[in-house]
């Protein structure tokens, strides 16, 4: 459970002054109508339901159950017939971008909507927003990175420090998010009551974030990945280059100055994390940015012609997935300056070179997967058109380490 707190909202009914009971009844009526509308919208859109909570006693009991009295800052009823609006929405059972993309992104959309888009609740400090992760049984690395980055953006833009109540989270989710460093990333105001337990066989590389291409930070990330994987010389891991390339792409291309139609605030940051599974000897790490996405940053002139001819040679229609795959094939990206966009090509090299390598890129409305030559899958791009747009770009690498590497 993660939420922000602030003052209550006043309710005005035209020029008529209402008694507290009338006001409360009116709010409940409005809440019911809004809940019905939200449920209808959710049914139509297939997204998780937003619940505007008006059963305050129930919510208070729930909050009391999950937080000790001394640490119970989420006091929803504020007395005198006044109360604070609270929005509660739930995470899906499995937060996994590969297996359940629509539900996972539905949760992320809800968070974005509550924080940045809903007019009535745009002042985030005046409502409680509870993103309930207790309904989530499992979360994989890309989804964890995406979720943590969204929470981080909300707290930076709205200038709030969230509280995390992870008591009722599933053990796997709590341990994973805590080991990855969610409380530190979002500067949570409280510490988890239940300490996390190290998951057997999994070493986590904690969330990192910066707003520039910081090679020292990237090298530290590589060193941490190597240390977790038990590799003596981090340089032999060859992960620094794709990390810097991904971060460079995020920094140089993801947040164009002239992109005026983006509804969400840019933070011009990148986030990264990783994990090493001892049992399978498999390493995975990911970099995420919240920019406009690769398809939108492709050149509109210059190399665009070459790019289009390459795609037309293959008889492709220009979906976002094709654009991403094409950008990596052509090795060019946003600018037409000499030598620009070379990094996209380098990003896939590690997936090609390492055993059982795999690269996945979610960006715009597309997902592309690339399996290296040593992989069981064919060494070519697999293109998937996403059911809902993925704002930003998430690049994930996975590969096996040779047994001697990880000793």
């Amino acid at each position: 459970m993660l939420g922000g707190r602030g003052d209550s909202c006043g309710i005005v009914d035209g020029m008529r002054k209402l008694s507290s009971k009338q006001r409360e009844r009116q709010i409940r009526r409005l809440a019911r109508a809004r809940r019905r509308q939200a449920a209808k919208n959710a049914r139509l859109a297939g997204t998780p339901q937003v619940i505007l909570v008006d059963r305050w006693g129930e919510l208070r009991r729930r909050i009391k159950e999950t937080t000790p009295p001394k640490e119970a800052p989420l006091r929803v009823p504020i007395g005198g017939g006044r109360f604070r609006r609270t929005l509660l929405f739930y995470a899906p059972n499995a937060m996994n971008l590969e297996r359940d993309y629509s539900s996972t992104m539905g949760f992320i959309y809800q968070l974005r909507r509550q924080a940045f888009e809903l007019g009535n609740f745009s002042n985030f400090s005046r409502v409680n927003v509870i993103a309930d992760l207790s309904t989530c049984a499992s979360i994989d690395l890309p989804a964890a990175l995406l979720t943590a980055a969204e929470f981080d953006r909300v707290r930076r833009v709205k200038n709030i420090r969230p509280q995390i109540y992870s008591d009722r989270w599933c053990d796997d989710v709590r341990d994973r998010m805590t080991e990855l460093g969610l409380p530190d990333l979002v500067a949570a105001t409280n510490k988890p009551r239940i300490p996390s337990h190290k998951l057997p066989d999994i070493e986590f590389v904690r969330f990192r974030s910066a707003n520039e291409i910081d090679p020292v930070e990237a090298a530290a990330l590589q060193s941490e990945i190597a240390a977790k994987a038990g590799i003596d010389d981090p340089a032999t891991l060859s992960s620094l280059e794709p990390l810097i390339e991904a971060v460079s792409n995020a920094h140089q291309h993801a947040y164009p100055d002239d992109e005026g139609d983006c509804q969400l605030p840019f933070q011009r940051r990148w986030w990264a994390a990783g994990e090493f599974n001892r049992a399978s000897n498999r390493l995975r790490f990911a970099v995420y940015d919240q920019g406009v996405g690769i398809p939108k940053t492709l050149p509109k002139k210059g190399y665009w012609g070459r790019f289009q001819s390459l795609l037309s040679d293959r008889n492709l229609e220009l979906t976002d997935a094709d654009l991403i795959a094409g950008a990596l094939d052509v090795g060019r990206s946003a600018t037409d300056l000499p030598g620009r966009g070379l990094g996209l090509d380098r990003i896939r090299k590690i997936a090609e070179q390492m055993p059982n390598g795999r690269l996945q890129i979610w960006s715009g409305g597309g997902l592309v997967r690339y399996a290296g030559k040593g992989s069981q899958q064919p060494a070519d791009w697999q293109r998937v058109n996403l059911s809902a747009p993925f704002s930003g770009t998430l690049i994930e690498w996975q590969f096996d380490l040779a047994p001697s590497d990880s000793q």
């Binding site: 520039e212 291409i213 910081d214 090679p215 020292v216 990237a218 090298a219 590589q222 060193s223 981090p234 340089a235 032999t236 060859s238 992960s239 620094l240 280059e241 990390l243 810097i244 390339e245 971060v247 460079s248 920094h251 140089q252 000499p338 030598g339 070379l342 990094g343 090509d345 380098r346």
Partner: protein
Amino acid sequence: MTVINVASQFTRTPGGRYKTDGRFSGEEFREKILEPAYRSGAQEIVVNFDGVLGLSASFLEEAFGGLVRRHRPEKPLLLKKIKLTATRPYLLPYITLTQQYMRDA
């Protein structure tokens, strides 16, 4: 002959392309290290990559490709003058890559 050791004279962690991108960029390396070495009139400039933890394409292209672009009339001379070396196997592909960027610039 001028010998440049990137790790000891610049950084073990080269970064992105431009100075505006962050620390230890290719532009910074070109301006602070490569250009002065070229202007000094040395017969040969040996750039040694040993010790760096990794190199990005943006860094290499801007540093070496950028140098060629800035001195385009002297491109053949530059290609002859600059020697790239490394003893660690994982760094050898970067030498090929850098030479390609200089040729393509």
